[in-house]
Amino acid sequence: MDFSEAADRISRKFQKSGQTVDPKKIEGKLRRLIEEFGVQPSEAERSVTNELNKEFNIPAMGTGGGASGGGGGTAEKKIADAAPGEWVTIEGKIVALAAPASPAIAQGGIIADESGAIRFVAWAKANAPAMAQGSWYRIESAVVDEFKGIASLKIHSGTTIKEIDDDRALMPNTVPITGLHPGIGSIRAKVVQEWDASHERMLQSGLLGDETGTIKFVIWKEPGKESLAPGSVYNIFYALVDEYNGRLSLNLNTAMIMQEEGDIAVSGGEAAVSGAIVHVAPGSGIIKRCPVEGCNRALSRQNYCPVHEIQPKFTYDLRIKGWLDDGEKTHSVLLQRDVVESLTGISLDAAKEIAENNPLGMDEVFLQMRDKVLGRYITCHGREIDNRVLVNKCERVAFESGKHAALLNRAGGAS
C-alpha cells in the first residue's frame, strides 16, 4: 500500500502553518498504524495529524481530521449547540464543581454560558489548571462526548484553558419540567411531595412540580446541603437531569437553589394515554375503604384495614386498576370512581345494590365491569406518578374516518 500521497497531504498542511515535517517520517507513522495495528487509513491520517498538532501546539482540527483542512481551530460554539462527537471551543462560567469520582479525573462539574450548561470532566492526565467555581474560562479544543444520552465536555491534554477576567452576567434559563432532557436543567418548581429516604446517604427525595408536570428529585448527603421545605417554591439552577428506565429525575447536589415567594399551580404531569385495556386487575370494581379520618385505605374482604384493623362501618368506593396498552408500552392506570361510573355505566349505588344482593357479591361487580372495559380502546387523562396514571377523565376512542383514509393512502400509496 502506498502511503506517500497521504503523507504529502499531511506534510503540506503543516507547511501552511509554517512547520516542516519530513513526509518520510509521516509515512512511517501511517504505515505502522495501518499495517501493524490495522487502523483504518482515514483514522490513521487523523491520528497522525492530531499527534503533530500536539507536537507543534496547533489546536486540533476536529474529527474531520485530514479532510477538514485550513488551519483554523475548533469551532467556537455556544454550549447549547455543542453536539456529541465535536471538538469545540467555548467560553463559560463554572457554576458547579463536584468531587471527582475517580483518580483518573482531576475535576468535574458544570460549565454554563447564556445558551445553556454542560457537564465537564478534566482528566488527571490532561494536567489542566484547576478551575474555580464562579469564574469564567475560555476552553479551547475540548471534546464533547456522550454517555447514556448525556453530553459532557472532556478536557484532555490537547485542551487549553484560559481564565477570562470580566465577570459577565449569567442568568440561567429555566425550562418547564416537561421540557427537561438528560444533562443539565434549570427549573422553577414547588416541592409537592417528600418521600422517606430509601438510602442512608440520601438527605431528601420527593417530587417537584410546576405548571407542566412533576419530576422526582434527590439530594445526597454532603456538607452544606439542606433539605427543601415541602410546599415551598424554589428556583433551581443547574441540576443534573438523569434518566433511568426512560424516566427523568433531578439530582440537586450540583444545583444552585433559591427559595422564592409565591405559589405554583402544579399540574400533575397531565398525561394522556390511549390504547386498549389489556388487563383488569384484582381489587377493581367495588371496594370498601377505611372510614378513619385521613386513612381511606382499601379494606380486605373481612373489613380489615392494615392500620386501623377491623372497620365494620366502612364506606364503598369504585375503582378500576388495570393496564392500558398502546402496542409499544403498557401503562398502569387507576380509574377513580366517577371515571369508572361514566365508563361502565354502573353507578356506585347500582354497584352497592349488586354487591349486597347478588350471590357473587362484590365479585359480580368486578365481572360486570371487566366485561365492559376489557379489550376496549380508551383514552385516559390524568396525573402520572411513578409510572401509574391516576385517571380523572377518560373517553372511548372513536373511529376517525380521516385516520382511516390516511392509513389507506399510506398503505396503498408507497407500494
Binding site: 428506565n245 429525575s249 402496542g327 399510506r410 408507497a414
Partner: protein, 200 residues
C-alpha cells in the same frame, strides 16, 4: 451516579410489562423463529415477526368462528379467530382457568378481543411450525372495537415495515436473517386490504 439510579429502580419496581403487539393473522402465521431473552428459567419467550419486531404478547380483535373442547383429563379449549387477513389459532387450558371459562361461555360467532402469548409448535418433527396463541384474557366486544383494532394494527404494521426498510436494530437484522424469503412489503398490501374491508 449508578447508586441513585439503582435505588430509584428498586423503589418504583423497575418491572415493565411486555406490551401487547398488534399484528394481523397473515403476518403472525409466517413466524418461524422463537427465542428466549436471557438465560433464566423465567426469562420471557418471544416470537419474531417477519417485519422485525419481537413479541411476547399480542392483542387481537376478530371474530371467534369456532371453539372446541378437547382433552379428557386436562381439559382445554381451542378456538379460531378470524381477522380481515386470516386466522389466529388460540387455546386456553387449565393453567388459564379464567380465560378458559370465558372462552367456554362465549357463543360463536362473536367479535372478541384476546390478549395472549404467541408460541410456535409442531405437530411432529417433520411438519412446519404453527403459531398458536395462549389466551390470557378474552372478552366479547363490538364491531366498533374491531374496526379500531384494524386501524391500530394497520398503523403498527406500516410502522414496522418502514422501520424494517431503514432499521438496523438487532430484531430487524435477525428478521432479515430468519426470513430471507419474506419481503415485508407484502404486508403493506395486506394492511391495505384489511383497511379497505372497513365499510364506512
Amino acid at each position: 451516579m449508578s447508586t441513585p439510579a439503582r435505588e430509584m429502580g428498586r423503589k418504583d419496581g423497575s418491572f415493565e410489562r411486555e406490551p401487547a403487539r398488534r399484528v394481523f393473522a397473515s403476518e403472525l402465521r409466517e413466524c418461524r423463529y422463537q427465542f428466549k431473552d436471557g438465560e433464566e428459567e423465567k426469562s420471557p419467550t418471544f416470537v419474531l415477526l417477519p417485519t422485525g419486531e419481537r413479541c411476547n404478547r399480542i392483542f387481537i380483535v376478530g371474530t371467534l368462528t369456532e371453539k372446541q373442547r378437547q382433552g379428557d383429563q386436562n381439559i382445554f379449549y381451542r378456538g379460531r379467530i378470524v381477522d380481515p387477513t386470516g386466522t389466529f389459532f388460540i387455546m386456553a387450558g387449565s393453567y388459564q382457568p379464567e380465560a378458559m371459562q370465558q372462552l367456554a361461555k362465549i357463543e360463536t360467532p362473536a367479535f372478541v378481543a384476546v390478549i395472549g402469548k404467541p408460541s410456535l409448535y409442531r405437530k411432529d418433527e417433520a411438519s412446519t411450525p404453527m403459531v398458536s396463541v395462549r389466551v390470557e384474557s378474552i372478552n366479547i366486544v363490538d364491531k366498533a372495537t374491531r374496526d379500531l383494532w384494524v386501524l391500530d394494527t394497520a398503523e403498527r404494521t406500516l410502522d414496522r415495515i418502514d422501520e424494517f426498510a431503514v432499521g438496523t436494530g438487532p430484531d430487524v437484522v435477525k428478521a432479515k436473517e430468519q426470513y430471507p424469503t419474506i419481503d415485508p412489503v407484502t404486508f403493506r398490501k395486506i394492511a391495505y386490504d384489511a383497511l379497505a374491508q372497513i365499510k364506512m
